[in-house]
């Protein structure tokens, strides 16, 4: 089980991002503690996914710094990669590996003890047991999304970054997703969740941040922020 750290697990300090002359993110600060889930809500184009990519070290901020547990966030740093799991905005899988082999690859590479039992557990939890020997081409988009989430859950992690994980999931799977996030934070994993689903944010997050045109315009508990009626451009629940 990850040990809670005294310093913020993830810290964004004065981070901004500009593409050409277009300012996508204005300088902002954000910190996330171990065992905390922060949900980022906002319209399409408000800068949520850019912020998540920067937080994951996949994009370099124009100004500011990003640190993970005191380390500079760099996607190519094995110390970061070993502890940060990302479920991105793609369903790209290996076309020649079955569902179980995807999870075996991740578990073996991360040196997970008792990988097979753990994989069986994750497959059952994500309702993928019946498809464990299927190739990605035989899965629906919702099942592919579940596979990506399972790949993140089968490995050790201190920080989980989720980019609209509710996409392509049915209502039942969305409810289970909130439970998964709850279980993660209970184990001390920090979760940064980008979503359009206010109901998911209400159910899973400790904090909700609303982004509008690259600026954080609200930061508080889900009850406070969502009750204030911010326009988040998604399903207000």
């Amino acid at each position: 089980m990850p040990v809670p750290t005294p310093v913020p697990l993830l810290r964004l300090n004065g981070v901004s991002r500009t593409y050409g002359s277009r300012k996508v993110l204005h300088p902002l600060d954000l910190s996330l503690k171990a065992g905390e889930c922060a949900a980022l809500l906002g319209h399409n184009g408000s800068g949520k996914s850019t912020l998540l990519r920067i937080a994951a070290g996949r994009d370099t901020p124009t100004t500011g710094t990003v640190t993970f547990d005191g380390l500079p966030m760099n996607e190519n740093d094995p110390r970061v990669r070993a502890r940060v799991a990302v479920v991105g905005d793609t369903t790209a899988c290996y076309p020649d590996l079955t569902v179980r082999e995807h999870l075996q690859l991740v578990a073996v590479a991360h040196g997970v003890e008792g990988a097979e039992e753990w994989i069986d557990h994750v497959l059952a939890e994500r309702l993928l047991s019946a498809h464990s020997d299927a190739l990605p081409s035989a899965l629906s988009s919702g099942q592919l999304q579940s596979l990506l989430l399972a790949s993140a859950l089968v490995r050790p992690r201190d920080l989980l970054l989720l980019d609209e994980p509710e996409q392509r999931l049915d209502p039942g799977a969305r409810r289970r997703l909130a439970e998964v996030i709850g279980a993660e934070t209970a184990e001390g994993v920090g979760v940064l969740l980008v979503t359009h689903d206010a109901e998911l944010a209400r159910a899973a997050a400790d904090r909700v941040l609303v982004l509008r045109e690259g600026e954080i315009v609200a930061d508080g508990t889900p009850e406070d922020v969502l009750a204030d009626g911010y326009d988040i451009g998604g399903e207000a629940g």
């Binding site: 996607e75 190519n76 990302v86 020649d96 079955t98 082999e101 690859l105 073996v108 590479a109 490995r155």
Partner: protein, 561 residues
């Protein structure tokens, strides 16, 4: 449910949903479409006319004028008949090989594209209207037939020139007899394509039989080369010539020559009759039996491939076509997952190769071709030796590249690798292990075969080249998106713009570098045949490997930056 079954179901549904006579609006729809698209059609006709003009210009400059020059020289006393006997000996098996290749090409093409491919816009909305499908689709069948026929005429023209110069056959007779096979075989391939497009079961047969047909074509080509070298097997050739349309074309082409086989006109008549019958069946199938789901799917694929080709994303184009032609993937082989973290990526690569045994077979075949090419370099001198060595190294690179598919999958979308506990560049480095080991095994087997012929020093050169070629393949895998701006590079040479050459150099940077650096030491080692020269070549290969891996590492880092 398999894709073929789904297509069957779609076809059944579509056949069940017939329009009644009252609903039918074919003439009105087509008339309206003609009116609406008149400006576009004029523009398109202009583009096609320009393309035809360019093709004709190239054909005249590179084909007609040199051929006329040769005939002129022949009329002034130049003698090319020395090659006649070899060409006549090579023709029976050679034409069979070409014919099998042509039919295979037509059938494989129909797995993803097919002879009946209307444009995407027609497919997207016109097929859903109350119109007679046959009237919409048949023109596209005839367009494909015309394209196939033009290639056949070109082949017949080449045959005419060859027979005219080397066997002194009159141009009219040579062209007429060559045209029988030249016209019929491509048309037969087109009709076969319609059968593949129409019946998913036939498509399944084509997928299963492709490797055997490929091997048959190669074997026939080999037989042809041996026959040209004086090792013909007349009874086998006779069986091949009478065995089907592939042989009938050869019999027709041989008819006006001194090597004519009895029954040539009969074979020609059989071929023409078979082609006519098959085209009639294809014409009927396009109206009655062609599943619209297959037409839609193929039109989408063709449009995807064309988009990828226009942006010079050749791998994407190949993937789209292969994805559509390959049928359903299956999980036939499994491999127990290892426990040690260090073995994760090698295990993943082993699974990939187990799932694609064809890649290993292709790699072995290319290595088998590379070895005689290297042998030719030993015995030849000057330009021939250099060309043979470069061919051997290129074949070696191609052999290794077959094994690197899982590395290329990583660079297709770097986000796939977000699971890995190591950097992307480190992951790519790990993808060298299994392909390198498999390539070394194959090359050692090839080296063992040539050991008695070339000696240990020369045999050792085969595995010695492998690490550098694997590293070159990884450099190429980390190429990234196409640098289209290179194609438009402003610099000029006496032969025209240098853009395409610059693009090609960038596209093939890895193998070109490896070939350039390995050519000299390997040539010296091949000619010397001494252990010292072989060690020097192996050390050079090791140094090139290190350099290329560093380059690959930098490229991989740049991909995730």
């Amino acid at each position: 449910m398999s894709a073929d079954t789904r297509l069957d179901d779609h076809a059944a549904e579509e056949r069940a949903a017939h329009w009644s006579g009252e609903d039918e609006w074919t003439d009105e729809t087509l008339r309206l479409l003609r009116e609406l698209r008149a400006p576009h059609r004029r523009k398109r006709a202009g583009q096609i006319a320009y393309a035809v003009y360019c093709v004709l210009l190239i054909a005249v400059i590179w084909g007609v004028m040199p051929s006329m020059g040769l005939f002129l020289e022949a009329s002034m006393g130049a003698d090319y008949t020395g090659h006649g006997p070899a060409i006549l000996a090579a023709m029976p098996a050679g034409i069979c090989a070409l014919a099998v290749g042509c039919l295979l090409l037509g059938a494989r093409d129909a797995l993803w594209r097919g002879p009946v491919v209307p444009p995407r816009e027609s497919v997207d909305w016109l097929l859903a209207q109350p119109v007679r499908i046959g009237r919409l689709l048949r023109p596209w069948l005839w367009v494909s037939c015309a394209a196939a026929l033009s290639l056949g005429v070109l082949a017949a023209a080449i045959g005419t020139v060859t027979l005219g110069l080397t066997v002194r056959v009159g141009p009219a007779a040579a062209f007429a007899w060559c045209l029988v096979g030249g016209a019929c075989l491509p048309l037969l391939a087109t009709a076969l394509g319609v059968a593949v497009e129409t019946a998913p079961r036939v498509a399944g047969w084509v997928r299963s039989l492709t490797p055997y047909a490929g091997v048959l074509a190669l074997a026939l080509a080999g037989q042809s080369v041996l026959a040209a070298d004086g090792h013909a097997v007349p009874w086998l050739e006779r069986i091949e010539l009478w065995s089907g349309p592939w042989g009938w074309a050869g019999m027709a082409a041989l008819s006006p020559t001194p090597a004519a086989v009895p029954g040539g006109p009969v074979a020609a008549a059989l071929l023409v009759a078979l082609t006519g019958g098959c085209l009639a069946l294809a014409n009927r199938a396009v109206g009655d039996a062609l599943p619209l789901a297959a037409v839609r799917q193929r039109s989408r694929t063709a449009s995807g491939v064309m988009s990828a080709l226009l942006t010079v994303e050749l791998r994407t184009a190949r993937q789209v076509a292969a994805g559509a032609a390959g049928g359903e993937r299956s999980v036939r082989f499994r491999l127990r997952a290892p426990r040690r973290a260090a073995l994760a990526v090698p295990w993943r690569d082993c699974v990939a190769l187990l799932r694609a045994p064809g890649a290993v077979a292709k790699s072995a075949a290319a290595t088998a071709l590379a070895v005689p090419a290297a042998g030719l370099a030993v015995n030849a001198h000057g330009g021939t030796a250099v060309a043979a060595l470069l061919a051997a190294l290129s074949l070696g690179y191609w052999a290794v590249a077959q094994l690197l598919e899982s590395a290329r999958l990583e660079t297709d979308d770097t986000r796939r690798a977000s699971w890995a506990p190591y950097s992307f560049a480190g992951l790519m480095l790990r993808h060298a292990i299994v392909p390198g080991a498999v390539a070394l095994l194959i090359s050692c087997a090839a080296a063992a075969v040539i050991l008695p012929l070339g000696g240990p020093a020369r045999a050792a050169l085969v595995p010695a080249a492998v690490p550098a070629l694997v590293a070159a393949g990884l450099v190429n895998a980390c190429r990234g998106a196409s640098k289209l701006h290179l194609l438009m590079a402003p610099s000029q040479s006496p032969a025209g713009g240098t853009g395409p050459v610059q693009f090609l150099i960038w596209y093939l940077a890895g193998p070109l570098t490896a070939l350039a650096l390995l050519a000299v030491p390997f040539m010296l080692a091949l000619h010397a045949g001494t252990p010292a020269a072989a060690v020097a070549a192996a050390l050079t290969s090791a140094a090139v490997t290190c350099g290329l891996l560093c380059w690959m590492y930098a490229r991989a880092r740049a991909l995730t930056r």
